[in-house]
């Protein structure tokens, strides 16, 4: 008789589920958005105009039909915003792309989780609460959290969030209050509603969790790697 172990989920799947569960318990809905999207949804809608250097922050795969491989899950923000009416609570998991040479720390393919919350009178203290709640659920109540102001064109104000991890500050996510122009692109009146959004780079978090040294392992199809999870 041949016996077998049970199989293995991909480590990125395992991590995503843990994170998504936290948000589902808070009442967030999982929202899926496409990997190939229009230039407008990926850039213009989230306030990254074509004649602005902030567009260079990401190296983009352009398709011959003029569309793009999304550079972030933020392409789902305006889609969700248009489709739904406030209060909006969504988390958007998904695969994103970057047109760059690969090495142990850079990949053309990576995963992000986007979180979007829009309601009346949402303010920065709500963003901070949600971030703290999420990070503490993942890393324990004793985790030290640092908030650094940072510019992302789709939010105002914007923040980078660091955690104190193995003796140093480590950036875990970018966040902020949804920019009024982005709300407008969703068809939402920014005089009535406000909201926050943030994005977590999943691959790096999974690498840290297990001590994986090469990001390319995730997409290598190497069963010596995949069968460890």
């Amino acid at each position: 008789m041949i016996m077998k172990d049970i199989g293995n989920l991909h480590p990125i799947t395992i991590y995503f589920r843990e994170v998504l569960k936290i948000f589902e318990d808070l009442g967030f809905e999982i929202y899926l958005s496409p990997e190939v999207d229009t230039e407008w949804n990926n850039f213009d809608a989230v306030n990254v105009p074509s004649d602005h250097p902030s567009r260079d922050v990401q190296d983009t795969f352009w398709l011959t039909d003029g569309r793009v491989l999304r550079t972030h899950t933020s392409n789902g923000q305006v889609r969700a915003g248009k489709e739904k009416t406030p209060p909006i609570r969504v988390v958007i998991p998904g695969r994103c792309f970057r047109n760059e040479s690969t090495d142990t720390r850079h990949e053309t393919t990576f995963y992000q989780l986007e979180c979007l919350y829009i309601d009346k009178a949402v303010n920065i203290s709500n963003l901070f609460w949600t971030l703290d709640y999420f990070i503490k659920k993942m890393y324990g109540d004793d985790i030290k959290i640092r908030r650094r102001p940072h510019h992302y064109s789709f939010v105002e104000p914007g923040f980078d969030i660091d955690i104190w991890f193995r003796g140093k500050w480590l950036e875990v996510l970018g966040s902020g209050m949804v920019h009024p122009k982005v709300l407008k692109n969703m068809g939402i009146d920014s005089k009535k509603y406000s909201g926050f959004a943030f994005g977590v780079g999943i691959d790096r978090m999974v690498m840290l969790k297990y001590g994986i040294e090469d990001i390319r392992q995730f997409y290598s199809g190497d069963l010596r790697f995949l069968k460890q999870f």
């Binding site: 041949i2 016996m3 650094r148 104000p157 190497d222």
Partner: protein, 752 residues
Amino acid sequence: MLISKNWLKKHTKINYSDSELADILNYTGTEVEEISKVSFDGIVVATVIKIKKHNNANKLLIVEVSTGKLSYNVVCGANNFKVGDKVPLAVVGSSISGYKIRKSKIRGINSEGMLCSEKELGLGDDHTGIFILSENETEGKSLNDIFDNDTIFKLDVTPNRGDCLSHLGIAREIVAVSGEKLMKDPVSLTKSSKKSSDVITVKVKSSDDCPRYFARVVEGVTIGHSPAWLVNALSKMGLKSINNVVDITNYILYDLGQPLHAFDMDKINKSEIIVRRATGNESIVCLDGEKRDLTRDELVIADNKKPIAIAGIMGGENSQVSNETTNVVIEGAEFNRKIIRKSIKNLNINTEASYRFERGIDSKGIEHAINRAVKMIRQTAGGVILSGVVGLSIEQENKWLDIAADKIRGYLDYDINDEQIKSILSRLGFNITEGKCSPPSFRHDIETWQDLSEEIGRINGYDNITPQTIKNSSNHKRSNYHLFENIKDRLVELGMTEVLNYSFLSKEDTKIFNIKSSSLLEVQNPLQPENKYLRNTLTSGLLKTISKNASFDPIEIFEIGQVFTKKSEKTYLAIALTNKSPNSGESIINLFEDVYGFKRGDFKISELSGEELKPYKIKKSSVAVLEIDLEKALKNRRFDKNLLSYKIDKSHKIYRKISKYPSISRDIAVIIKKETKPEEVKKSIYSVSEQIVRADLFDEFTSDKFGNGMKNIAFHLSFQADDRTMSDKEGDKIFKSIVTKLENEHEAKLRA
């Protein structure tokens, strides 16, 4: 961008330690990426007394140097010095680039220190030879007394904050927190009766392309080396010294953030400067020696014959300041940011100047920057500064916006009174009157009250904000995601492994897998040939995975992912099983029929024989592949709630690095108590050594012949070292340790 702490002190008083300063910058939105110290403890001026060849190494020299009181023998690899030169000597006990200098023997000769290059001292990039100091330096003097002890901060300035790309800009940020004053530095210039406008003319064709252009002339300069302080200041910015005029323009760029350019006036035909678009059939050889063809998109600085610079990007060779130059024109301008951006893309160049122009400069600071520059040029290169600037400037109206204090308070959710808000804005350089404010001329990123709230928040601090819970809701909406994850759990229970393959196909792939590339979505700008097309199937990826994992048998893998055609993006599931799998295509289809109600016809099933697998470099006798369009199969179906859930795996997994060296395989079979779980045994095995990279269960069998309540359990094992090929002997040793471990922990007996 690099910032020197000493340089900052020229703009404002700074009483902060390095880490305090880094905190201020980090907490106000300028990320500090790196902090490095420039110090020269234990490095002194020494004179070269004698140079001898090393007997045992023909590339080494034995150099005797003197610090006045003492002399030292030092073994040295460079040979760019002569007797009498003053050189930097790092004495025993000092540190150079993190490396401690010790007394050592180099090929049999004692070496009592080290002679240093510019790079080793952190003063520049030159590492080809020893840094020769000025002959006037005194022997024994510490280099700390010649070069500043300094701290260099490497900053990540976001694209909206072009105003932070200089020492002045960063000083402004610090002042907003410290409350100190910015040091005002009005420039007074000695008056000359001759005016710049007497010798040059400036014509700007379109004020839309170039809203501001100023030029000022310095006559009779002597081009030469820059003074040490200037060379040193630029080298901290990672820049090489060129000459005493060009260096000043670069200095001003890092100091004030205004890019300037110096032209040799006598190379400008008829002394006429024209700012215009390129004609479309012009080209220019730039200062980097490269010839560039210009389109009508490019804005150029030209004389009445030819372009002499690409506006805001790079100067031309034909008008550059050389050793023979005597009269210079210093240009300072503001160009249309969109034009600069387009040219950066068109020409594929980005310079320190274009980087700043693209992000926006201080419209009102240009003239000041020119005046500072000409004054410094007079100090370093002599000459006469002609009166006045030539040029044009479009008046800009101040933008006013409501301070909206209530909205700001609501957004930040803390108490801050109107006066505090105004005080922060005014420290940031805003003009304020009656509930309205106007951003300073160097800020191009302030448009709304939300922007103002960010300014208040980042200066006042965000740690004063008490997190407030969000409204909880009981949204239990289920999406396709839940079903996809449920399917994954099912397949894993059957022993399958999830893979995530790339979304791309190469041209090569389309040939091997016989995919019509005309039906595929194509990437316009792939950096790698592998990223040419988007996949329209998951099967090719799974076959590649099988081919890559030749040592595994059976292989049972699946992927759920997006596939693309020119018109659609869909979520597919694909499963691949090699012939030895306990699961079969048939059993899986049955499962999907029973559990999810999928129809048999929804699946695309391929059975590939050994012969058919050859092109994919797979050596298995057969492989079954199933592929299904999940969205189509799910359409109009309702699912029971328990099918819309997924498992959370919180178990602690220890990851072992994948080694590139060959592994050793062994099988182990033990007789063990029936109730012992295979996972527990596996855990014990892995705990023996980090070099155990695989322990796959392949047999579990209960029989009375093993004794009452006992069973046989067997694993395939692989051992691997991550730095070398493991020997059989080492493998045997690990194997023995595993046996001992299982005996001790599980009372197991190795099966004979």
